[in-house]
């Protein structure tokens, strides 16, 4: 396997973060007084019922939304706009349909000053990292969902971001592909050491991948802003066995935290 120079992940600091959206019925507070510290290189999963604000938090880390108040810093710098140091892997991939796999992955480096040749070389390394060398001249429409998602991961990693943000990236995939993608991601994270924030609905996925699982609760349907209910550190050696007793203990505990919240409606 090719060795990629490990990008040093960046630490994340979130303090007293509040986000309010204007709406016809008056301002809606999506998040209120959120505090979160993430160490460089950590893999964080964020779980919670729908509407609890996990995607909002992710979009704010990415720079697509700005805080209403509070501190949001990545690598010590306040986030003001999206950028290649904070890559986002979307659930619907975000690939350019008119570009080949190679061109899609080389796009980032080219935008950031690399020459065509350098960009292509870098792209080839990351395409190899995700195991898609054989289809590098195909267009996204010619690939399966899982392959497209791997291209999405490659085109984000090609910029060697300090932070990788993933918004339910495997949600659109079938169970088998999802499983192999989780293993792939774990391997990639191990090789690259990029700080990762991974939003998911699947508790199993969270326990499998993460160092720490953040459980969020609240949301508009609960009548209060989103907040962090609990943080669970998953102290299991990798690769993790989804059938092990300890794994299921974590799973049960976290599911319980989520269910308890949605029951009290």
């Amino acid at each position: 396997m090719t060795t990629i120079t490990t990008a040093l992940g960046a630490p994340i600091t979130v303090a007293d973060l509040t986000k309010t959206f204007p709406s016809e019925a008056g301002p809606v507070t999506a998040l209120s007084g959120l505090d979160l510290d993430i160490a460089a290189g950590e893999f964080i999963a964020v779980v919670g019922a729908s509407g609890c604000g996990k995607s909002t938090l992710l979009r704010m880390l990415a720079g697509f939304e700005l805080p209403t108040s509070g501190i949001l810093e990545v690598g010590g710098k306040t986030v003001t706009a999206p950028g290649p140091d904070r890559g986002v892997v979307f659930q619907d991939y975000g690939l350019f349909p008119w570009l080949t796999v190679l061109e899609n992955v080389a796009y980032g480096p080219k935008q950031n000053g690399a020459s065509r040749k350098e960009a292509a070389e870098r792209a080839e390394r990351f395409i190899d990292l995700v195991g898609l060398t054989r289809v590098s001249n195909r267009f996204p429409s010619q690939l399966s969902g899982g392959m497209q998602q791997r291209v999405a991961i490659a085109h984000v990693l090609c910029n060697e971001p300090a932070l990788m943000l993933m918004d339910e990236p495997f949600g659109a995939l079938d169970a088998l592909t999802r499983g192999s993608m989780q293993r792939e991601l774990q391997r990639i994270h191990h090789e690259m050491g990029t700080t990762t924030v991974f939003v998911t609905h699947s508790v199993e996925e969270a326990v499998y991948l993460a160092d720490r699982v953040i459980v969020m609760a609240g949301g508009i349907s609960h009548g209060r802003p989103g907040y962090i209910k609990a943080t669970v550190a998953v102290e299991l050696d990798r690769p993790r066995d989804v059938n092990a007793a300890q794994f299921n203990d974590y799973r049960r505990r976290i599911s319980g935290l989520i269910e308890h919240d949605s029951d009290s409606e």
Partner: protein, 290 residues
């Protein structure tokens, strides 16, 4: 008959690989051609019958005054290569003159409408500025512009090109606006996330995303350019398919009129195919663009 056991090299005749391929390809082309000419042939057949039988069609169309398909064919031939009367052999002259005007008007319209459309589709300020004016001007028919063009620009080519420009401009503009306004926000977010400054994503995301709509607009615009040719060439033009038809109308020569119409139709068809071919070449066969 017992087969003598010979060396395997004296094999049974090999399947004729080349002949297996060509009949099926030829058959496929023949089938396609049949499909294409089927309806026109039927219509021409009905036309011939209607003239022969002097049918009275609904809406008061009296087929007595319509020349037969054969008469039109003869006239077209004469226009192309004949020498018997004033209009003989003039087809190429007229076609060339009209084609040049259409090309000019259309190309200028495209170069104006596409950039304006992209800006209007993406920047609310620009849209607000131009929208009401565009909506006001758009329904005005070229027929109404013609006298004004004559006064302001004068007789000749330039007036015609101006009128064709007006006809082609609006469909290209409207379609481009629609394409630009419907660019996937996800792709714009992805571009920003990958480090593309906003102005640059205009070229790397907005333009490719809008290409299919722009293509539709261009095709409609080109078609309309031919449609308004007859009106466009009523500004003191002597050479051109529209002028030919107008002169024929003054002489009550329905055979020349219909011949002229058919030639315009063919020119329109060919120019559309040429446009599509050019666009395909420019986008190099990439998916989602043409």
């Amino acid at each position: 008959m017992t087969a003598t056991t010979e060396a395997p090299t004296a094999a049974a005749p090999r399947p004729a690989e080349t002949t297996v391929r060509s009949p099926s390809r030829l058959a496929k082309h023949a089938k396609n051609l049949l499909f294409v000419v089927a309806l026109p042939l039927v219509l021409v057949g009905l036309w011939a019958l209607a003239v022969r039988g002097q049918w009275n069609l609904p809406l008061g169309i009296d087929m007595r005054f319509v020349p037969s398909p054969w008469a039109v064919l003869v006239r077209t031939w004469d226009l192309a290569v004949g020498s018997s009367e004033a209009t003989s052999g003039s087809l190429w002259r007229h076609t060339a003159a009209s084609t040049l005007r259409v090309a000019n008007g259309f190309v200028i319209a495209a170069f104006l409408a596409v950039p304006i459309g992209l800006l209007m589709g993406r920047i609310r300020f620009v849209m607000g500025l131009f929208d009401s004016t565009v909506s006001l001007l758009r329904p005005i028919p070229v027929t109404a512009w013609a006298p004004l063009a004559l006064l302001l620009i004068g007789f000749g080519d330039r007036s015609t090109i101006f009128l064709i420009l007006i006809a082609a401009f609006f469909p290209i503009l409207i379609n481009t606006i629609a394409g630009a306004a419907n660019v996937s926000p996800r792709l714009l977010e992805a571009a920003a996330m990958l480090g593309t400054p906003a102005w640059k994503s205009f070229f790397t995301v907005v333009l490719p995303s809008s290409m299919q709509s722009i293509t539709s607009g261009l095709r409609v615009g080109l078609g309309l350019s031919w449609v308004v040719l007859v009106v466009g060439e009523t500004v003191g033009i002597r050479t051109g398919l529209g002028a030919l038809i107008t002169q024929a109308r003054d002489m009550s020569r329905t055979d020349i009129i219909i011949a002229g119409m058919i030639v315009i139709g063919i020119a329109g068809l060919l120019s559309d195919r040429l446009l599509t071919l050019c666009l395909r070449l420019v986008t190099r066969g990439r998916p989602g663009l043409v």
